[in-house]
């Protein structure tokens, strides 16, 4: 690769909160890439999923003169002022996974295209529960940005492609394993006719799958959603989750570092193509870089992914 790595730079990765596997997978990839790219890498974040915590971390990074901050946001708008301040001081801001306000970052690495992901979710239910399935949605919180994007996308796709499919209820698990499990149980008990659960959140998908297992509805209710393979492996194997779309989070983490490096080098345009080492080439459009097509986990391929 022709990336200039002569000058050592400091790049921080700030997840929504430290301690969730999803973000650890990003970290794993980022660390690998950082080594190759001569980056002083720091993984740090708040203890709870709060914007205040993230802002505190950003402020400290600004004070410590980091060259680039990469982050997935708890809230697109709340983080903006702090990140704008960072940009004003010449710090490059790269968001990934969950975006911040467009003018508060230089680049956004979108996991997958929202429409494509919505489609993947609906298809993984339709294939097993049929085109007339009664579907429940189990999301994280009512105002979770990315979940809402996906839910909107899947609804649009559902109406267009499977008009007979029906969403009977939408519940929230607050990203908490226990609340998600309880919500999953309640969904199934209160709506006996549900045959598919779409749970586009890590804790929610696991909770929904566990609920199906506990109620002995394996084979009758199909769960899909969005979770890292480690968390859902057992349910994929037991057939509760037939397909679950995601993307390669490790590789995504690598890309984040590439973009950060290129941004600091001023070697990347807000519109245009660029190459990120082995990852191949990507296209930035108004600063948005779509990382990949959805990667569908199923019983056959899931063991290839360990994160």
């Amino acid at each position: 690769a022709d990336i200039d790595t002569s000058k050592r730079i400091k790049v921080a990765m700030v997840p929504k909160l430290v301690g969730l596997s999803v973000f650890k997978a990003n970290q794993q990839g980022a660390e690998t890439a950082a080594k190759a790219l001569n980056i002083d890498f720091l993984y740090t974040g708040p203890v709870t999923a709060s914007a205040q915590g993230q802002v505190d971390v950003f402020n400290s990074l600004i004070a410590r003169r980091f060259n680039a901050i990469t982050t997935t946001s708890n809230n697109p708008t709340q983080l903006a002022p702090a990140l704008r301040r960072a940009r004003k001081q010449g710090i490059k801001v790269v968001s990934y996974d969950s975006d911040v306000a467009a003018d508060a970052r230089d680049f956004f690495i979108q996991n997958t295209d929202y429409a494509a992901f919505g489609k993947a979710l609906v298809e993984s239910v339709a294939k097993y529960a049929g085109p007339t399935a009664k579907v429940a949605i189990l999301s994280s919180t009512p105002d979770a940005t990315i979940q809402n994007e996906w839910i909107n996308a899947l609804k649009k796709y559902m109406t267009a492609t499977y008009p007979k499919m029906q969403i009977v209820t939408t519940q929230y698990g607050q990203s908490s394993p226990s609340q998600s499990l309880t919500a999953g149980l309640n969904i199934l008990q209160a709506n006996a006719d549900v045959t598919g659960i779409i749970a586009p959140d890590g804790a929610a998908e696991v909770g929904a799958a566990a609920a199906v297992e506990k109620l002995g509805r394996t084979g009758k209710v199909f769960v899909t959603g969005c979770s890292d393979p480690n968390a859902i492996r057992q349910y994929v194997k037991s057939g509760i989750i037939k397909e679950s779309p995601l993307w390669d989070e490790v590789k995504e983490g690598e890309l984040v570092m590439y973009v950060a490096r290129l941004a600091v080098n001023n070697a990347i345009q807000r519109n245009g193509d660029f190459t990120a080492g082995d990852l191949g080439s990507f296209t930035a459009k108004d600063g948005v870089i779509v990382f990949s097509e959805p990667l569908i986990f199923n019983a056959a391929n899931i063991d290839q992914y360990q994160f």
Partner: protein, 343 residues
């Protein structure tokens, strides 16, 4: 203790006429049965019947089963909380103790195949140590309980991070899953967690109601100075109460892990289980000012909340209002009781 009483010859019964006294006949009226538990049970059953009448799924054996299962973890916490509150204390650190136990045992089970017995041992150790630290801070350094456990809340939460380094537990070995989800036997389809809870409840009920330790807890909650003057080992008893709370929280952590098969850094704290457990203990009839504790009430309180929260789903209340419903029920339950206790 074998005090010689005055010789009976000087007895002059009935010398106190004219002075208002607590007559012996008042006993029946004042020796209050456990009104709170009866009321809670009644309201819970009424809710089940009412919602069940419109939605048969609600009264299905399976749903009842899960409403019961759902309250096991909270019940365990509330039982510990009951002991502490009865001393006129409070334990906010139950949530991180739960989380830490779930995390430590979960990671060890996941990685090294820690046998279940080992997990129990580790949980016990964590609960003992962390609970005792709370107790010592309260009893020896005289830091008010709410401040002590607020401080250790931060510290113990930090330990979860230090230990896990941010990873999470996604699955547990079969033995754990059985502990969390199995039934005692096919003949007796009693869920194992419910059995565990029943045993713990019986134990706490017995300790609080019928042992010197339990009575010492109540005596301290009633009047600490008088308890000290009467020779009750105040420090040891207080430490004991916090230790018990720690151990029960750790057990709750293990049950949580077994039931959900998962543990994250925010397990316990993320759901504000400390506040929930306090609410449940108070709903159960334990006095926040200490001196009165009700073990059965605590469990019934947790069951009541579990039933109410499930009922909200069945009657199609929008999810946004669940926590409002919970708040309202806490308010109603506690206030209804306060009225009864008030003079």
């Amino acid at each position: 203790m074998n005090a010689p009483l005055l010789s009976q010859s000087v007895t002059q019964p009935g010398a106190l006429q004219g002075v208002p006294v607590v007559q012996r006949s008042r006993v029946a009226a004042s020796a209050g049965r456990d009104v709170r538990s009866i009321a809670l049970a009644a309201v819970t059953i009424a809710t089940v019947l009412l919602v069940g009448a419109f939605n048969h799924g609600f009264m299905s054996l399976q749903n009842l089963h899960f409403m019961l299962l759902n309250c096991v973890v909270l019940s365990l916490l509330a039982l510990g909380q009951t002991l502490v509150i009865a001393t006129r204390g409070i334990d906010l650190s139950v949530a991180p103790v739960l989380g830490l136990t779930a995390m430590v045992t979960g990671l060890m089970a996941q990685g090294g195949g820690l046998p279940l017995a080992g997990a129990f041992g580790i949980a016990l150790a964590i609960g003992l140590v962390l609970g005792t630290i709370n107790g010592l801070l309260v009893a020896k350094l005289a830091i008010p309980p709410i401040i002590t456990t607020l401080g250790t809340y931060s510290l113990y939460s930090g330990l979860i991070f230090l230990y896990s380094n941010g990873t999470q537990v996604d699955s547990v070995p079969h033995a754990y899953a059985t502990l969390g989800n199995g039934v005692v036997s096919d003949v007796l389809p009693l869920p194992i967690p419910v059995l565990v809870l029943a045993v713990v409840l019986l134990l706490v009920w017995f300790v609080l109601g019928h042992t010197r330790f339990g009575r010492a807890i109540l005596a301290i909650g009633n009047n600490q100075a008088a308890a000290y003057n009467a020779g009750i080992p105040v420090t040891a008893t207080q430490v004991g109460a916090y230790t018990a709370s720690g151990v029960l929280a750790a057990l709750a952590g293990l049950m949580f892990l077994s039931y959900t098969g998962s543990a994250t850094v925010t397990t316990g704290t993320g759901d504000h289980m400390e506040l929930q457990s306090i609410a449940v203990a108070l709903i159960g009839g334990t006095a926040i000012a200490g001196g009165r504790g009700n073990a059965l009430g605590a469990v019934l309180g947790a069951l009541f909340l579990s039933v109410i929260l499930t009922a909200l789903v069945f009657v199609h209340v929008p999810p946004i209002w669940y926590s409002a419903g919970e708040g309202l029920m806490i308010l109603v339950a506690v206030t209804a009781g306060a009225k009864r206790v008030a003079r």
